[in-house]
Symmetry: C2
Subunit: 156 residues, 2 copies
Amino acid sequence: MPVIDPSKVPVKTGSIYPEPYASMMKGRSSLRLGDAGGLTQFGVNLVTLEPGALSSLRHWHLNEDEFVMVTEGICTLVQDAGPVEMGVGDCAAFPAGSTDGHHFINKTDKIARFLVVGTKAKSEVATYSDVDFRVEIGGGKATFTYWDGTPFAGPR
Amino acid sequence: MPVIDPSKVPVKTGSIYPEPYASMMKGRSSLRLGDAGGLTQFGVNLVTLEPGALSSLRHWHLNEDEFVMVTEGICTLVQDAGPVEMGVGDCAAFPAGSTDGHHFINKTDKIARFLVVGTKAKSEVATYSDVDFRVEIGGGKATFTYWDGTPFAGPR
């Protein structure tokens, strides 16, 4: 049955980031709706941001297109040019390889939610805009480095 | 600027189907939001169904995953097992190669809308469940056939 029952989709919390970045993702959770529906070519997650929560560190993807639609509350999109408020139904697209990093912040005192779609590329590099940090993903493994590719050993 | 201004996205109407199927798509229109945002790996369309309109003929995709979230009104999803009503926020997934054809009907007297995401595969075959019809897409060209692959020459 292709209709997805969200009550049967596990709520994913936590982060693959090393500390101190993982703790900065407190208040963020998501439902992996696409996975629950058996999709393999792109991910579709419904992300919940508690008041004050971040969607991620500000980042851009090398290989994967990304699309977001706000479904509840107000999300503040932050990019190089600064913040923009997005309400229910507002959409944004982040083409693979576009180096203007993005993330969403819930600056309100109410829950905010957005649907996010991202291609599942065989390998991926996410580069973080505001901290010297990068994640390479491939072969089911995440490798954390600085921007110059040397192994991550804490913030610098 | 990655935030998409829907008022600047052209409203797409019509259908690639030959007649009489094209005329059956009356009352359906869409905004190609993903294309407007520069995405190339998957399409994201906001589809509007006037009262009585169909999203498409009932079909399944050979190569492309598909995901739908209802964003306004009520859409009736029809598959082999029959109709299911979906309201705002309800989601459904249709993995590539799953042969249980689907489409959406607006059986209400109000506008209904849904967001649909589909992979952009290099080649694709859509097979229609309720009529002897198939579309092969590749190299920027659509070829219409019967289920057995012979050229389409009208309903039979």
